[in-house]
């Protein structure tokens, strides 16, 4: 069973998305990237992000992650901030530590692509 299924699949994404997005918007290191006029559209992207790091069904490749984040000049500081928001969201939802580690592992696996290094 994948970690996505283990934590509840699409329902887990739904439960996490508002909490995660709220944390991201409240974090000065990264809020500007997500503070767009179209919150509903941004909300969908957050869901895509969570589905991906939960190991759920998605059609993204490392190359897609590279182009999706190209030109943003992202640094390790930004990446860490997103990772922290992710972990603290999962802790809020009382996701077991083993699953959290696995999810962080997935996020780390695309780090180079996201940072375009």
């Amino acid at each position: 069973m994948s970690v996505y299924e283990a934590i509840g699949g699409a329902a887990a994404v739904d439960a996490a998305v508002d909490i995660f997005y709220r944390k991201v918007l409240s974090d000065e290191r990264i809020s500007e990237f997500f503070d767009t006029v179209d919150m509903a559209e941004q909300h969908k992207k957050q869901k895509a992000f969570l589905t991906m790091v939960f190991g759920g069904p998605n059609a993204y490749t490392g190359k897609d992650m590279r182009s999706a984040h190209a030109g943003m000049n992202l640094t390790v500081v930004h990446f860490d901030a997103v990772a922290e928001a992710l972990v603290s969201t999962l802790e809020d939802l009382e996701v077991p530590q083993g699953h959290i580690n696995e999810i962080v592992g997935i996020a780390l696996s695309v780090k180079d692509d996201v940072l375009n290094v």
Binding site: D18, R22, L25, M39
Partner: protein
């Protein structure tokens, strides 16, 4: 640059070239093709066109039903094609004919229009009203479908506007008016009768909120309902008596006003708050589990929605209608 072929009839096709990034609606209007339109922002659907044999940009079908999409309908005000398209006018939406029952100028900025109930709706939804074959605007519904035998709108006057001055000076009791709809997701859902509710709007943003508040109260909502209305000046406020009366009948309802430009005496009495955002925060600091409805101009809705979300409201529990925004 790309070409649009506008099919007037089976054997009459007009060719229009769009400049870079121009919408289909804009291109056609600029070349004198009369396409109806209203909001210019993909909400009212009055600019609907149809294209059965061309590629349709995804963003021009946002908010349409699956069957509308399949049949090739799209919103021409949001359509910036990359390739040539063959388009024609749609005759999808049935227009209903209604009659003006009552018109009252409430303040020098706001008129109340009541028309006959020519269709079914939920309070807080909106209809498209037609002034002529090619001029349409959308207005939100303030009345209640089963308790009122009219459909009520509150129309704010824009002096240089095309439609609202006509409501003030052109249309009269007894006149017929074509309407279409209803549309919109801003209405009361009786599933959470004890949920706290925040209803906030600017100016005639009160219209749908008044409708929603009454719908909630008449449906037996028991949770706290905060109705917070803002205006730039005191003169922009209306319906204060009606709201007071509603408050007397329903203790769970709380009505507050916020005026950003108070004169010095008014500011001193502190009967109104100046800043609607901080006032909302003071009156209802924690929005976890609350249902939020926001109606008004673009900057208000966006800023308040963000604040409400950060104060704990779920994204899915925030419904909003943006009344006016101008493509920059």
């Amino acid at each position: 640059m790309c070409e649009i072929y506008f099919r007037r009839s089976d054997d009459q096709v007009e060719r229009v070239s769009l400049s870079q990034g121009e919408t289909v609606l804009n291109g056609l209007l600029n070349r004198g093709v009369e396409v109806p339109y209203g909001c210019l922002t993909g909400v009212c659907q009055s600019c609907l066109l149809r294209s059965t044999d061309s590629e349709i940009p995804e963003e021009s079908q946002k908010g349409l039903s699956a069957s509308q999409k399949k049949m090739g309908y799209f919103l021409s005000c949001c359509c910036r094609p990359k390739q040539a398209m063959i388009v024609s006018l749609s005759n999808l939406f049935k227009k209903e004919t209604s009659q003006v029952l009552e018109k009252e100028i409430l303040t020098d900025q706001v008129a109340r229009l009541r028309i006959s109930k020519a269709l079914c709706y939920r309070s807080g939804q909106f209809l498209t009203l037609w002034k002529s074959q090619d001029v349409a605007r959308t207005y939100s519904i303030a009345s209640h479908p089963s308790h009122d035998d009219f459909i009520e709108f509150h129309v704010r006057l824009y002096d240089n506007g095309v439609f609202s001055p006509w409501i003030f000076d052109g249309i009269n009791v007894g006149d017929e008016i074509e309407i279409q709809g209803p549309m919109g997701e801003c209405f009361y859902n009786a599933n959470g009768k004890d949920q706290p509710m925040l209803l906030s709007g600017i100016g005639t943003g009160l219209a749908p909120l008044y409708g929603i508040a009454r719908d909630a109260l008449l449906s037996g909502h028991t949770g706290r309902i905060l109705l917070l209305i803002g205006s730039r000046t005191k003169q922009g406020l209306y319906y204060e008596e009606e709201l007071k009366a509603l408050q007397r009948d329903y203790p769970q309802l709380e009505v507050k006003f916020s005026v950003s430009e108070l004169d010095r005496d008014e500011a001193a009495t502190k009967s109104h708050s100046r800043d609607i955002y901080s006032y909302a925060k003071v009156l209802m600091p924690d929005l976890a589990g609350a249902k939020v409805f926001l109606c008004g101009g673009e900057s208000f809705v966006r800023k308040m929605r963000r604040q409400c979300f950060l104060n704990g409201a779920n994204m899915d529990d925030i419904a909003s209608d943006i009344f006016l925004c101008f493509p920059s």
